[in-house]
């Protein structure tokens, strides 16, 4: 069985596993945190999930790659927003990690690390699902 077949069969399952791993890291951080984790820290993960959902709404064949036609500009705008939201959520989670490591009275470094891992895994899961789901 060649790689593309294997990818199409097991890709969505792997995507689900990676998505689950990302969110379970965050659950672990919230459960094991000695301080109350403020809602602000939940936001990067939530927005990463929204971004992953957004770019999975676009079917692959719909994207027209010719750069000079009018093309499907709405689709490309939607994808652009999805990318912006995903990168902002990633940057925000890294920023919160740095804040957690500097400010000793807030959530611990593990909370910040788990937030970054959550964003990364959720976005990777969205990518895997996008590349692997057959049409």
């Amino acid at each position: 069985m060649e790689l593309s077949e294997l990818w199409a069969i097991f890709g969505p399952g792997v995507a689900g596993a990676v998505f689950g791993a990302g969110w379970w890291f965050w659950v672990d951080a919230v459960v094991c945190s000695s301080v109350n984790v403020p809602f602000l820290h939940y936001l990067p993960g939530i927005f990463a999930t929204i971004a992953a959902l957004m770019f999975n709404c676009v079917r692959r064949e719909d994207i027209d790659y010719t750069p000079y036609d009018d093309g499907e500009w709405r689709l490309k705008l939607w994808l652009f927003f999805a990318y912006v939201v995903s990168f902002v959520s990633l940057a925000a989670s890294v920023g919160l990690l740095i804040q957690d490591s500097i400010v000793k009275s807030g959530p611990s470094v593990w909370t910040g690390t788990a937030g970054v891992l959550q964003c990364v895994f959720v976005l990777i899961s969205g990518l895997i699902y996008w590349t692997s789901h057959p049409e």
Binding site: E5, P12, G16, G20, H133
Partner: protein, 140 residues
């Protein structure tokens, strides 16, 4: 007579696989309950909820064809089923790990939980092998 003998051997092999399957499943259940009973701490039963959740997408969304999970499929529901099954599979590993990290259960309970999970996984693989072999023989 040779055909009879072959048929008998085939049946014997099938029965042995069934016995192995039964042993694996009951071993998994025993380990799961031992993880709670030996330490008098019933928190690990939380992962039973995830075990129950695991086959639900398959039962409700993928219809009667259980092997659509192992084949490429155009149906959007089948890919969603694979996604949810993958997420629940990770959940069964994550819940004991989180319980251990939070200090609610000890190392022994964690090891028993995880080995119970892998035994169940092995049982599912044996079941799939068994059904595949059965189909191949029947095509003759």
């Amino acid at each position: 007579m040779m055909a009879d003998l072959l048929g008998y051997l085939r049946n014997c092999l099938q029965t042995r696989k069934l016995a192995v399957l039964a042993i694996l499943v009951s071993g998994g259940i025993v380990l799961q309950i031992l993880a709670c009973a030996l330490y008098n701490n019933w928190w690990p039963m939380l992962s039973v909820i995830i075990y129950v959740l695991l086959p639900m997408p398959l039962m409700f969304l993928a219809g009667s064809d259980g092997y659509s999970l192992l084949s490429e499929s155009d149906n959007g529901w089948v890919t969603a089923t694979k996604f949810l099954t993958g997420a629940s599979a990770i959940g069964s590993i994550a819940v004991p790990a989180i319980l251990k990290h939070a200090g609610v259960i000890g190392w022994g309970a964690l090891v028993m939980e995880l080995s119970s999970y892998f035994i169940f996984l092995l049982a599912i693989l044996v079941y799939i092998r068994m059904n595949d072999d059965g189909d191949d023989y029947n095509f003759f």
